[in-house]
């Protein structure tokens, strides 16, 4: 067994015995903080500013023309680690929406189970159509499990419209109209 060496504690000096230096140092911190601007946020009344790259609740967005961007490729459903996303793919009805017929495909249903979501952002990263974004909503609550599953309509309400750099499908449509073939 290892031998324990006992060290003698250094005896306290006179000033230390009075405790006054310690009290003064402590009070200095107290008074400095007292005079500074408060850092506590009065959450729910006050809200923090959310940085642009924040990973909040995943939402579906539309392009500036109000077009549904998601084409239900189901890559987000595939990549989602906790399997929170559930998509029912479907075809766009050519007769009902002729202006969108060239996109061919859109989700019939799009559910994200927020009880499962881990806010990892892989869905946003994998989306080839830039249709799903984790935006600034960070606080989510509900009274039932069903309420915590965001359906397609809710996701578009939460997502709103984001600027689009490409307008990929509009370009496709104009190319089709121009008929580049001979």
């Amino acid at each position: 067994m290892a031998k324990t060496k006992v060290l003698e504690r250094k005896p306290l000096s006179f000033a230390e015995k009075t405790f006054l230096p310690q009290i003064v140092t402590g009070l200095k911190t107290t008074f400095t903080s007292m005079l500074q601007k408060g850092v506590t946020l009065q959450y729910p009344e006050e809200r923090p500013t959310i940085p642009d790259n924040y990973r909040g609740v995943p939402t579906l967005v539309k392009d500036p023309n109000g077009r549904e961007k998601c084409v239900s490729c189901q890559l987000c459903e595939f990549v989602c680690p906790p399997k929170a996303i559930r998509i029912t793919p479907g075809a766009i009805d050519t007769d009902a929406e002729p202006e969108r017929a060239h996109v061919e495909k859109a989700p019939q249903e799009f559910d994200i189970n927020m009880l499962r979501c881990i806010y990892c952002g892989l869905c946003q990263e994998v989306c080839p159509e830039e249709a799903i974004f984790l935006q600034d909503i960070f606080s989510l609550s509900g009274y039932s499990r069903e309420e915590m599953i965001n359906n397609k309509q809710k996701l578009y309400e939460l997502g709103g419209t984001l600027p689009d750099k490409h307008f990929k499908w509009d370009k496709k449509k104009s190319a089709e109209a121009a008929g580049n073939a001979h």
Partner: protein, 584 residues
């Protein structure tokens, strides 16, 4: 099936490794035989179609041992080894046949360069529709673009616009922008389906796949063009936008449409089947199957599915139902109307039940016209199973009528009918006649017979259970459970054991399918004593058919089965047993 042992083998050298391959095989197949995941990428080549050689993806470098042109003497290098004369340019693997001493490079710089070039050209006008393309996930262009593509396009001009969302036929949708002009679909329609309806029009980059004027791709094999399309140009209208293929689980199964027994793959996700595609079996169906066989699974979700064990219309447990059936069967004077839709295992149990209850067995024929390819005249998957298990000894009457049974009911000789999946009211036995007897009905779907039946036992469809079928050439083929059946419904042989065992005063045994096989191999001469269901090879086992050659089967010559030739080969027992030995 034993072609490799008949054809002489030669040695060729692939990437520095000597390989034995059958003479005359092409380089794509030869490289595949090397294994280890080695593959020559290709689009237009298909093992079951003629070689077109138009995609240029399967470029390999080829060289032959050098010989002096004058004397024919081998030219040796300083080590005394024969020099290899490499061709200055790459050659296509699909149209290059292996010859002795041939040297092949599948991975040299030149080969890689040419593949990259081909890929870049193919992608010039490709629409990059992957997010909305059904082929994504099983697309050869997608795979090879990842391997051989450059990741961006140097083509800054406008892409070609071609017809999209074209309806080629009742089951096939065409997107011409995605087409890479491999011509597999054209060759398939012409060579296999025998309905030459597809062709290319226009030239150069404007080349477009289309149906000939006034024609449509409507033959019963049209969905095979979708299967062999290496890209998403031809897609199934039925499967269109239903589910991405990477979510789907594949289960090996057998098509129940006819006695051909086409090997299939069932694609399902979370207990729902999305599509059925053919699985390659060179002895049965090559790589094809009928369109009509692909939609049979839809009966799973039909409203008239039987889901409850009932006695006189009241829901009961499986044990109560089995006990009621046993009681009826023990009273004797039983007739069993068996089915050639049942699996071999079930027919084995029906045979025991018939024997133990002294039942007269009749089996109803389901004959229709065949198409000479993969739809035979017998529209049941397992008539041979009924013969092999001894359930029947003669073929059923050509006309689907149960006259003898009708007479027996009228004369009172039959008091109980055990019906398997047949509607007796359509077979000459009216409802009034059924009222005279007790009816035990086993089946998947409700019909007029099940409505009047005293005991109803719901059974599982082929997609929901394990089992085997014996096809037209006496080949035992295995199918596996793809999706769960209706809640609470047991696999058929579990229920049948609950009926068969008490009839012989035996205890009901908890059976696995291999246990059933253990019983079967001891009773059926055609089965090898060592074989079990779980050990059956994927391509099936050919049985000794010599005991059944006198029977006059209805099948005429079709894609892989010639009744005359089959009789001749099966009659020579030595050869047959040799075949079984090599395959088992």
């Amino acid at each position: 099936m034993n072609i490799q042992s008949i054809v002489e083998n030669i040695t060729i050298n692939i990437d520095g490794q000597d390989v034995e391959v059958p003479k005359g095989i092409n380089i794509i197949e030869a490289v595949k035989m090397v294994g280890k995941g080695k593959e020559v990428p290709h689009y237009c080549y298909h093992p079951k179609l003629s070689v077109a050689g138009n995609c240029r993806m399967c470029m390999v470098e080829m060289g032959m041992p050098m010989r002096d042109r004058g004397t024919g003497e081998p030219i040796l290098d300083e080590n005394g080894v024969q020099k290899i004369g490499w061709m200055p340019k790459p050659t296509i693997g699909c149209a290059t046949n292996a010859s002795p001493g041939m040297h092949i490079r599948t991975n040299s710089e030149m080969v890689k360069e040419s593949r990259n070039g081909v890929t870049e050209f193919l992608l010039i006008n490709h629409p990059l529709d992957c997010p909305i393309c059904d082929q994504a996930g099983e697309c050869r262009l997608q795979e090879f673009s990842a391997e051989h593509g450059r990741g961006y396009s140097r083509f800054i001009e406008k892409k070609n616009v071609k017809p999209k969302r074209t309806t080629l036929g009742p089951r096939v949708t065409l997107d011409d922008e995605r087409c890479i002009l491999c011509s597999r679909c054209i060759r398939f329609s012409k060579e296999v389906a025998g309905d030459d309806v597809l062709g290319f029009v226009d030239r150069g980059t404007y080349s477009t796949l289309t149906c000939f004027p006034g024609k449509e791709l409507s033959h019963n094999y049209s969905l095979n063009t979708v299967d062999i399309c290496p890209v998403g140009a031809l897609t199934s209208t039925d499967f269109r936008f239903k589910m991405r293929v990477w979510f789907l689980k594949r289960t090996h199964s057998i098509c129940t449409e006819s006695s051909v027994g086409a090997n299939t793959e069932i694609w399902s996700r979370e207990g729902k089947i999305y599509r059925i595609t053919p699985r390659r079996n060179d002895a049965v169906n090559d790589t094809w199957m009928t369109d009509s066989g692909r939609v049979l699974y839809k009966a799973i979700e039909s409203d008239d599915r039987l889901t409850q064990y009932t006695i006189e219309g009241v829901h009961k447990t499986v044990d109560e139902v089995a006990a009621a059936a046993v009681e009826l069967l023990q009273a004797r004077e039983v007739a069993l109307v068996a089915s050639a839709h049942s699996s071999v295992e079930e027919q084995f149990f029906y045979q025991s039940i018939a024997q133990r209850s002294g039942a007269t067995v009749s089996l109803v024929s389901h004959y229709a016209e065949g198409d000479g390819l993969l739809l035979s005249e017998d529209r049941t998957p397992n008539l041979r199973g009924a013969l092999v298990t001894g359930l029947i000894h003669q073929l059923p009457e050509r006309e689907a009528k149960l006259e003898a049974l009708a007479r027996d009911i009228n004369s009172g000789a039959v008091k109980t009918i055990f019906v398997v999946n047949e509607d007796l009211t359509k077979l000459g036995i009216h409802k009034e006649m059924l009222a005279k007897v007790k009816v035990i009905y086993v089946g998947t779907h409700a019909n007029e017979t099940s409505e009047v039946a005293n005991v109803v036992i719901p059974s599982l469809m082929v997609y929901e259970k394990d089992g085997t079928f014996i096809n037209q050439s006496f080949r035992v083929q295995r199918f596996k459970t793809a999706v769960p059946g209706p809640r609470g419904v047991l696999s058929d042989f579990h229920v049948l054991e609950r009926i068969a065992a008490p009839l012989a005063q035996e205890k009901v045994a908890p059976l696995s399918i291999d246990d059933v096989w253990e019983r079967m191999v001891s009773r059926i001469a055609q089965f090898d004593a060592a074989i079990r269901w779980s050990a059956l090879p994927e391509e099936g086992v050919a049985l000794d058919a010599s005991a059944f050659l006198d029977l006059n089967f209805v099948e005429s010559k079709n894609l892989k089965f010639d009744p005359v030739a089959f009789k001749e080969t099966s009659a020579a027992p030595a050869e047959t047993s040799a075949t079984i030995a090599t395959e088992a």
